[in-house]
């Protein structure tokens, strides 16, 4: 959800950057909030008002995003997440409750930004040196897995690359701090290739034997295809990460990161369903 998805430069909103006045600067939006809340969901008029309300309060979201901007996440990402929080706040705000909009919106937006940080919990800053080493390790692991018939150990990798074991351990640890997408996301993979489809068929059969399928199935279905494939092959086909890496055509480290991230998403999703 970055602005770069479309290849355009991130659009700042310079016209909104003027100094903020008193709290009263959003007062003129209050009647519109009430009107918005009174309209039936989905009505064109409500959508138009919603748009106007989100735009009108955008400085609030930007202000909150900036408060979090020195923690290693790109500022555009934070603004998008904060804007998402603002949209939720506009959608859910109920003037009947008597609280004013800002008292409701600020915690909602802040919560959304915090949640983003939690979801990205492993994406701390990683020194360039370790990123480079990671690329080396990643490809060496693939080769060694082929020769050994299993994944190598950290010591074997270090020996193979004539590197100190401590450097290898450090780089491996850093790879868990990577945000998927930084390194190997661009590599081509094709979950529809013949063998993977066959394997998935068997995994699907195993899935049918698991309880709670009702709550799990929609979550799995909502996953991007590659993530779903990897989850199915690991947990319903019992393949190792190295085997999955070879089958899907990405590195073991990438499989590892995708698995960890997807499990966390599934856990959140299942947790909410159970409540």
């Amino acid at each position: 959800m970055t602005a770069s998805d479309t290849g355009t430069a991130p659009a700042a909103q310079p016209e909104r950057r003027e100094r903020k006045g008193s709290r009263g600067e959003y007062d003129h939006l209050m009647p519109k909030l009430a009107e918005h809340a009174s309209l039936p969901p989905g009505s064109p008029q409500r959508l138009r008002l919603r748009d106007e309300l989100v735009r009108g309060h955008l400085p609030v979201a930007q202000h909150i995003a900036r408060r979090f901007s020195r923690r290693g996440e790109p500022e555009e990402d934070l603004e998008q997440v904060a804007t998402l929080g603002l949209i939720n706040a506009v959608d859910r705000y109920d003037p009947e409750r008597g609280t004013d909009f800002l008292s409701y919106a600020v915690p909602t937006i802040t919560g959304e930004v915090r949640r983003h940080f939690r979801d990205q919990a492993w994406s701390m800053r990683v020194p360039r040196r370790l990123k480079d080493l990671n690329v080396t390790l990643s490809s060496a692991m693939g080769q060694m897995s082929q020769t050994l018939g299993r994944a190598p150990t950290a010591a074997e990798l270090a020996e193979h690359l004539s590197l100190p074991k401590e450097d290898v351990l450090e780089a491996l640890e850093a790879s868990n701090a990577y945000r998927s997408g930084s390194l190997d996301e661009m590599l081509v993979d094709d979950p529809d290739s013949g063998t993977v489809s066959d394997l998935l068929g068997e995994a699907d059969a195993a899935l049918e034997k698991v309880e709670y399928q009702q709550s799990l199935a929609p979550l799995l279905a909502a996953l991007p295809q590659r993530e779903r494939t990897i989850i199915m092959l690991r947990f319903f086909k019992n393949m190792t990460q190295s085997q999955i890496a070879a089958e899907v055509g990405i590195s073991q480290m990438h499989v590892s990161r995708l698995l960890a991230r997807t499990l966390m998403q599934l856990r959140d999703g299942l947790g909410e369903n159970a409540r």
Binding site: T153, A155, L169, T240, S242, L259, R267, G271
Partner: protein
Amino acid sequence: MARPDAIPPDLEEPPEDVEVRVPATPRAVVTMRTVAADLAARAEFTLDAVADLRMAVDEACSSLVSLARPDTKLTCTFILDEERMTVTATVSTFGPERLPTDSFGWRVLTTLADDVRMLSATGDRNGDPFRLTLRLSVRRLGTVLS
């Protein structure tokens, strides 16, 4: 100023038995999985096994923490032997809590680790709290494939 003694180079072996205690909160779980993975990587586990262990500890601790009483601790013991690492994770709970064993989470645990056991203890009559423990082990060479 006295210099500390140099660490003998042959002290590469990790301690055999490591215990870590953190607040029983979701954000502390990362510490546990990181310790587990580091111990295993140093102990010559294959990197598949290290990754599996990391995820298993994450899953076990996350599930336990969701049942823990507020302001209590999550304790993990990591024991290494020739073939495997055995992890014991414990929290205090309000009552005789259990984790569902027909869930996806359990499936994840039992795929990643061997010998997954759930143990619960009612404290003695001094009013000690209930405890819920998960024990699991991961083999140095990873899952043995059929």
